[in-house]
Amino acid sequence: MTAAEAAATTREEIWATVAAGTRSTLVDSPPGAGKSTLVREIGRRAHRRTQVPIVVQTNDQADDMIRGFIADQRRGAAPVRAGRLHAGDYVPPVDLRAQQGLAFSKSITDLHDSNVIVATAAKWATIGFDRTWPFAIVDEAYQMRSDALLPIGVMMESLLSVGDPGQLAPFTTADDTRFRGRPLSPMETAAATILTTQPATARLALPISWRLPSHAANLISDAFYEIPFTAGTQPQQRRLRCGVTPLHRGRTADAVNSATRHGWAYLELDDLPMPQTDPDAVGAIVDVVKELVDADITVEDEYGTRGLQPSEIAVGVTHRDQRDHVRTALQNIRTRTGVPVDQVVVDTANVLQGREFEIVVVWHPLSGRRDASQFHLDAGRLCVLLSRHRQACIVVSRGGICDQLAGHAPTEPVWLGETTPVLDGWHAHLTVLDHLMRNAV
């Protein structure tokens, strides 16, 4: 059975479960395993019976979902009337405004003739609970907080929840001590909640990552996932070629070289404790990005050959101030040189969840720290950062991470009644580091 056939079989299984009227179905999906494709397919099949609400977590995800429906139609899928329910201050993106068969509204009553309605969980919570739907789909159920599932449970009679268990767990800015270790704590993920309350939940998993290239799928599967998965493409199907050989040599050029040849590069800076917005790390990342944009890279993959666009490159960071510093530095280069490096997407792991790029430059979460805090050790954060790319990943970090991991015992208290995470952040970090060291430049 080919990878595509295996994936199609799983999708049929999932549809059969849903069509049988199962109250709760949970599909675990590794990065880029066609989660959104699955959601759209089930949505398209289920709407023949009834209108299907689709619950996503962010406005970007909602817009991407809508774009997916439009793209499906272009490829010949049966047309669906998609409704995009949104907040009052939302402005539809330019590329979606003029689309046919698409309705935007801030009121659910305007969307009564839509086949599927896409909105964020926060928006669904505002529509009043006098209506119910027999079936709904929740996307990114491991990213959604349990309290956000409450209003969904009030309105929806059965749910298909889809998500990536390796993603970042939800968080709060408030002191959450009093919610820890409680049964059905609002800080739990929606997926964990539904597994607790509905032990009969049908659990399925998508087996193949279409996004990750084969050299990354194995590492990510080993380091971060309980249920193993493989890549959907063969090693020779994906390739990067540099159009310009840089005249100057240096570690930045070496990093880009290693990334284009092997799919991985690890650029290590001097071992120094630094503030969160380490200017040298910002500099190194910006240099790598500029090198990538300058190198005139050609992307080869299962869809064909094309030039790499700056918007297909992302920089993944841990903190918002790191994001701001990298963005500012890229904007300054744009002003100075005219190279469109500011089109490169720079964001935190939390925001990059669920998104996909050709090349990702990662600012290692433990870079320049003196301790390995729980937040920075979070395996989900590292997993998100290392699993956004289709071709190559370049990690930039201060040295000494191994010593940090060895030298710092866990500081988090043990919460009675809380299930221990399946994944050990320490172990995941060491596995990844071991791999990165072999690709050091």
Binding site: V91, L150, T328, Q331, N332
Partner: protein, 472 residues
């Protein structure tokens, strides 16, 4: 840690004195607080050993002791003594204004957060549901006081109904010692309020030598004094010798707790030396309202506290908690230039002088319409490395929302007004040429009306296997 706070900590260590983190006071101070200190038996949070309280520093504080903390009737007897006076203090705050809100609310002052957690979380929790009838009953005042203590355990950020002295002081001052060392009230006061002629570290060391402020007692004192007195209590065979031992124990306990009691008042004095910040009143008003709500529930016999809240209650609580946490941060920064300075130091806010303004500027918006977008150009006082597109709000007028424009390489920051100062009626709010301004990330909070989840939906109903059959 914030860059400014790191600087202040280093400065404090170098100059051997505490450094102010605020220019104003961000907690409400009641004219008549109830200062409360206490110990429990080592290793047994549920066994209070002694409580000491009072509403005036000039009076001898009241004190109650349990000669054998493991004996339940002795425990309830001692707690009844406290409960009667605690309830009498609270009854002074019953009078209401015409809107039905209590005119003032009580304020408990304790030495540290551990004492607050112990009194509200543990003592409140185990007394609030005690039965006043039947076997091993407690006096009715004890469960009632437990309901009030439980109310004081369940407070939001920014509330001043309970002040933990160490928390309140570290909000306002930075010491040169470790945060864990700041948990000792006497040592902390050594830094903030050292005796004349003594450097802070020296005064802090002297403070560390005084008896602990509770709720844990000094293990040496436990071994040398307490254990012996408890043994004597058990050995005593008549009432007269028992009361003698009780008096002796009370005397010993007073000696242990009086320093912490006095330190609480010292902490209040230090806080009182700062002028109140603007938003303290509105936060206290919200405290008064929640106090009123609790009094109503007690009066109607509805003052229930769930040990395990329902998912709906938890979700509501978390939402309010998140909003209040942000509100407090925002209000403190608006009220206090030194708090805002820390936000500037972190790079989130922009401080600088206005070097150019263009109040008439018009530009095309996303829909292609010409709209008024006044522009101000700022010479930043500290490097500001946020990218174009960052939205900021005028700190003196958070209704004015601006967006940072792409840098022109001159080092000046250009920001256009998106709302709040782009109409003829509001243009006066635009800063003038030469003004020193701060643009912060703190805008006016937004309120969303949300329908209430009335019942627990199927997704959150846990079916427990050992649940008894439904009774007929």
């Amino acid at each position: 840690m914030n860059a400014l706070h790191t600087h202040q900590a280093l400065l404090a260590a170098a100059e051997r004195r505490a450094v102010a983190k605020t220019t104003r006071r961000h907690v409400h101070l009641s004219p008549r607080p109830l200062v409360l200190v206490g110990y429990h038996l080592a290793g047994d949070l549920g066994a209070p050993l002694a409580l000491m309280w009072g509403t005036s520093r000039d009076e001898e504080p009241h004190c109650t002791v349990v000669p054998e903390p493991r004996n339940r009737s002795l425990r309830f007897e001692a707690l009844a003594g406290f409960a009667a006076e605690f309830l009498a203090y609270l009854s002074d705050f019953e009078s209401r204004d015409e809107a039905g809100v209590c005119l003032d609310a009580p304020q408990l002052v304790v030495p540290n957060a551990a004492t607050a957690d112990w009194l509200g979380g543990i003592v409140g929790r185990f007394t609030r549901n005690l039965r006043a009838d039947g076997d091993s009953s407690a006096p009715p005042s004890v469960p009632l006081a437990g309901k009030y203590l439980s109310f004081f355990a369940d407070l939001m950020p920014g509330s001043s109904l309970v002040l933990a002295a160490t928390d309140a002081l570290t909000t306002h001052w930075q010491t040169g010692q470790l945060p864990s060392e700041d948990l000792n009230l006497a040592a902390l006061l050594g830094w903030i309020d050292p005796p004349a002629g003594m450097y802070a570290p020296q005064a802090a060391r002297a403070g560390e030598a005084s008896p602990p402020a509770g709720p844990e007692s000094d293990p040496n004192w436990d071994a040398e004094t307490l254990a012996e007195l408890i043994q004597e209590w058990h050995a005593a065979d008549d009432e007269a010798s028992r009361s003698a031992i009780r008096r002796e124990l009370a005397g010993e306990i007073r000696e242990q707790l009086t320093p912490a009691w006095a330190d609480c008042w010292r902490a209040l004095d230090r806080l009182d030396s700062l002028p109140a910040a603007d938003h303290v009143t509105s936060r206290w008003q919200s405290d008064r309202r929640s106090w009123t709500g609790h009094c109503d529930r007690v009066a109607e016999g509805r003052a229930y506290f769930r040990n395990i809240p329902t998912p709906v209650q938890d979700a509501t609580r978390l939402r309010i908690l998140e909003a209040r946490t942000e509100d407090l941060q925002r209000e403190m920064a608006w009220d206090d230039p030194l708090v805002m300075a820390a936000v500037v130091a972190s790079g989130e806010a922009l401080a600088g002088r206005v070097v150019r303004t263009d109040a008439q500027r018009r530009t095309q918006n996303g829909n292609g319409r010409m709209v008024r977008r006044p522009l101000i150009t700022i010479e930043p006082a500290l490097e500001f490395a946020r990218p174009a597109g960052t939205t900021l709000f005028l700190s003196t007028n958070p209704g004015v929302k601006l967006e940072v424009l792409p840098s022109d390489g001159s080092g000046l920051i250009r920001a256009e007004v998106l709302r709040g100062a782009n109409q003829n009626t509001t243009i006066g709010l635009l800063p003038n040429l030469g003004d020193e301004v701060v643009l912060s990330p703190y805008g006016k909070p937004e309120f969303y009306q949300r329908p209430k989840v009335e019942y627990i939906p199927w997704t959150h109903q846990q079916i427990l296997e050992d649940e008894p059959e439904e009774s007929q």
